[in-house]
């Protein structure tokens, strides 16, 4: 396994984690833009633009693009989050150049008005599809409430109304500002021909005009910094839902904080799908259909996200018990046995996902896009091996799970 890096004169960075034994090559363009970079008038534009990128350039139609990806036998797709928009394809190594060229070319889309109106309908369908599914909007509502004005609280899809009001000119301007070469990383993993990758990038992206990129940092409300002891609660009533769904956010370390590894370790002890505190308390007994805890990090913020679902009658008791567990863990810590089991599981998952070139692409690409750092599988394993009980103590002091939090319920329960 080796790592290579090069920067084009216009600022576009090219990186690769190269594996001699891989049978496939994955390439991805990681654009540093997402819902947090939108204004109210452009709410949902990052994701809408991700769709529009596949609708064609001045010399490629949408059909051409779809056919070419399938010609290459590519597993190609894209996703948008609060902070990133990623376009990627996994192909057999002989198609690396064509796949890279194709994605590079479509990142300069024509943004035709007619396509824009048709694709708007698809986005509206996507919003309705998610709105019909668990957790019935509780996740977006909880994020918005917890972050209270901080841009990480803006939902990715937008709303039916916000997407209906985005204009094609607004999107064109957003694309020009956010898809500048200095804001994009081309990453590859697996069986990569790095010299050819850089050459392709020069040919396809070398003429892209460099533009200054505006800063993404902004002030944070105290609760996002781990302070206070507010307990905010909201409810979304969905009479037709069979189950009640709960999301609870409290503050955690951000993506640059060394304690983020300890946070993932703690989340695993608390809410992994097997063998965790929540598992023995809620899942093993059949008290809940689902109970989990994850740590999610952003550029300048982080959260512990607790999720629960059960029949509506039981949910209040489960919530009360959850708060007791979170307080207990904050005050009394966890056992050595819990720490060792979670360490073993984390290490195993790092090894398993490390051998999938396709999954490494996201780890390597996002890490570089956010912080210009490269971390190998061995680096990650080293960190996990060295996590200590005292790390959890510090975490509890800085980011108490029992501190300020927002909880949103969605389901048949009446307010």
């Amino acid at each position: 396994m080796s790592f290579r890096h090069e920067t084009l004169p216009n600022g576009l960075e090219v990186i690769a984690e190269i594996s001699d034994s891989a049978l496939s090559t994955s390439v991805g363009f990681f654009v540093n833009t997402g819902s947090r970079d939108e204004t109210d008038e452009l709410w949902g534009a990052s994701h809408f633009l991700e769709h529009m990128v596949f609708k064609g350039t001045d010399d490629l139609s949408a059909d051409d693009i779809n056919r070419r990806f399938d010609d290459l036998g590519a597993a190609a797709n894209a996703f948008t989050s609060e902070e990133d928009t990623v376009y990627y394809a996994s192909v057999l190594p002989e198609h690396q150049r064509e796949a890279t060229e194709l994605i590079g070319r479509i990142l300069r889309p024509a943004l035709r008005e007619e396509d824009f109106e048709t694709e708007r309908l698809v986005i509206l369908e996507e919003i309705q599809m998610y709105d019909d599914q668990p957790p019935f909007g509780a996740d977006d509502a909880c994020r918005a409430t917890f972050f209270a004005g901080h841009p990480a609280g803006r939902s990715v899809l937008g709303t039916l109304d916000s997407v209906r009001s985005i204009s094609v000119d607004g999107m064109r301007d957003y694309h020009r500002r956010r898809y500048a070469p200095g804001n994009i990383v081309l990453a590859a993993s697996g069986a990569v021909d790095f010299d050819d990758l850089v050459e392709t990038a020069r040919r396809i992206c070398g003429e892209w005009e460099p533009l200054p990129i505006s800063s993404r940092t902004c002030p944070k409300p105290p609760r996002v910094c781990g302070g206070g002891d507010e307990a905010i609660r909201e409810q979304i009533v969905r009479e037709a839902a069979a189950m009640e769904y709960v999301i609870r956010f409290s503050a955690g370390p951000d993506g640059d904080d060394p304690d983020r590894y300890a946070a993932k370790w703690l989340a695993m002890m608390l809410g992994d799908e097997s063998g965790s505190r929540f598992y023995w308390e809620f899942i093993d007994s059949g008290a809940a259909d689902y109970a989990s805890c994850h740590h999610q990090d952003f550029l300048d913020a982080g959260v512990f996200a607790v999720q629960l679902s059960s029949d509506a009658e039981s949910i209040e008791a489960l919530l009360a018990r959850t708060e007791e567990i979170l307080t207990d863990v904050t005050v009394n810590g966890l056992t050595t046995a819990e720490m060792e089991q979670a360490r073993s599981k984390l290490a195993s998952r790092i090894v398993l996902s490390g051998e999938r070139a396709r999954r490494r692409l996201f780890g390597v690409g996002l890490e570089w896009a956010h912080s210009r750092r490269y971390r190998s599988v061995a680096d990650d394993l080293g960190v996990v091996e060295n996590l200590k009980g005292s790390d959890l103590g510090r975490l509890a002091e800085r980011w108490p799970l029992s501190g300020s939090h927002a909880t949103v319920l969605a389901g048949p329960l009446e307010s």
């Binding site: 599809m129 019909d132 023995w280 051998e355």
Partner: protein, 415 residues
């Protein structure tokens, strides 16, 4: 590409399959017991699922908690699942931990404690899971379709029916486990960095003295009709369409799979182009191939807002009708490219290969080599796919819709 496929059969009938993938660090192992939903029995739909849930609640000398802790300490990423025909116990791990996995799974399969005092908890887990699927409209749509397409008990939901699960007792679970979790008919597949002779030796030591059971037959009941609307209070209407196709063991399944891939496989497929790209009717639309051992089905799916659902169904039906006689050379080339790169990329994943070789053994009684599969793909031609479609036109359609309002379907179905 060099491929090492291995197999052995123990005297009691357990089939051992292996594939060496020496470039990986991991190994994945799957124990497929012939204890799937088709053996539930009249009025006991969900018995296989509840039994599988109870099997993990202590085995051999390990109580419920010890079992889960042992799996965690060995870094085994485990899961269990019940399909129509099998109960599968799966684990992926760093290769050197495989001996521990064999020992733990020998306890689970041969010496489950099935503790009576945890029976109600186990039942609650299954019931919570069932209630959760009520909130998943696409899953419900496909469950309803399965009932129309496959005869009972193959068409019944392997996750169970609430009313039946409420009637199950510890005694029927115990009887089910001792009758159906048995060596004859069991397939154990391992793939990854595998020491095959050591694996076979350990499997023999742990399983060879397990006595086979008496043969079991399953009677074939009725199909559920041709057309059904399920009332559901949702913004979107979900549509599923099916017709019969040759089972996987038939050589023609390659032609059938290719035809369905043209219809609704990649982003250049007819459905994606006509339903989503041209008309913006929905976010997700697809067609695929689903097989049991003795029968198989083409299954098409779309989810779309209620006021555009009729148009979506009409366009899908037109595309299905147009398919025979219209497949082009370009389309088939793309199908082959996608299938080929899918096959090669599977070789990068121990989990995918452990699943793949077991599935082939179940359907064919042997494992096809990658070279054979690629050769058969190459033999696909426009005339072979057209020929198959002309002799098996998609005329015996079954249709399910789920949403606020029923749709108009072709008269021969609703009659």
């Amino acid at each position: 590409m060099k491929q090492t496929l291995l197999s052995a059969t123990l005297d009691n009938g357990i089939v051992l399959l292996g594939e060496e993938l020496p470039d990986l660090e991991s190994v994945a192992v799957a124990f497929h017991a012939p204890a799937g939903g088709i053996h539930d029995g009249e009025g006991r739909c969900g018995l296989a699922s509840l039994t599988s849930e109870m099997m993990l609640r202590g085995a051999g000398d390990r109580d419920s908690r010890q079992l889960v802790e042992d799996l965690a300490m060995a870094g085994i990423n485990w899961s269990n699942a019940v399909s129509t025909t099998h109960a599968t116990y799966f684990g992926a791990m760093v290769a050197k931990r495989l001996p521990e996995a064999v020992s733990i799974y020998a306890d689970i399969l041969r010496r489950p404690q099935l503790p009576a005092d945890q029976f109600e908890s186990g039942r609650q887990v299954v019931l919570q899971d069932l209630a959760g699927t009520d909130d998943d409209p696409s899953h419900r749509t496909l469950l309803a379709l399965k009932k129309l397409v496959f005869p009972a008990p193959w068409g019944l939901p392997s996750e169970g029916l609430t009313a039946d699960v409420e009637q199950l007792t510890p005694e029927v679970v115990e009887a089910f486990a001792s009758t159906h979790v048995r060596p004859d008919g069991m397939i154990v597949a391992a793939a990854g960095r595998l020491d095959w002779p050591d694996f076979v030796k350990r499997m023999e030591a742990a399983f060879a003295d397990w006595q086979p059971g008496t043969p079991v037959t399953v009677g074939q009941g009725e199909r559920g009709g041709r057309w059904q609307h399920v009332e559901h209070d949702s913004q979107q209407t979900h549509i599923a369409i099916a017709w019969s196709a040759p089972p996987y063991r038939s050589d023609e399944s390659y032609e059938a799979t290719a035809a369905l891939s043209v219809l609704g496989g990649g982003t250049s497929s007819r459905f994606f182009t006509e339903v989503r790209e041209r008309r913006g009717l929905c976010y997700s639309v697809s067609a695929g191939y689903h097989t049991q051992r003795d029968f198989a089905s083409a299954i098409c799916y779309a989810g779309t807002s209620s006021d555009r659902a009729q148009q979506t169904l009409d366009v899908m039906l037109e595309e299905i009708e147009r398919l025979p006689g219209s497949i082009t050379e370009d389309e088939l080339m793309r199908v082959k490219a996608r299938a080929k790169s899918g096959l090669v990329m599977q070789q990068e994943s121990s989990s995918a290969r452990a699943g793949g070789i077991a599935r082939q053994w179940y359907h064919l009684g042997r494992v096809r080599s990658l070279a054979d599969e690629l050769k058969r793909l190459d033999q696909l031609s426009v005339s072979s796919v057209r020929g198959w479609l002309e002799s098996h036109p998609p005329t015996d359609l079954s249709i399910v819709s789920l949403g606020r309002h029923p749709l108009e379907v072709p008269r021969e179905l609703s009659a």
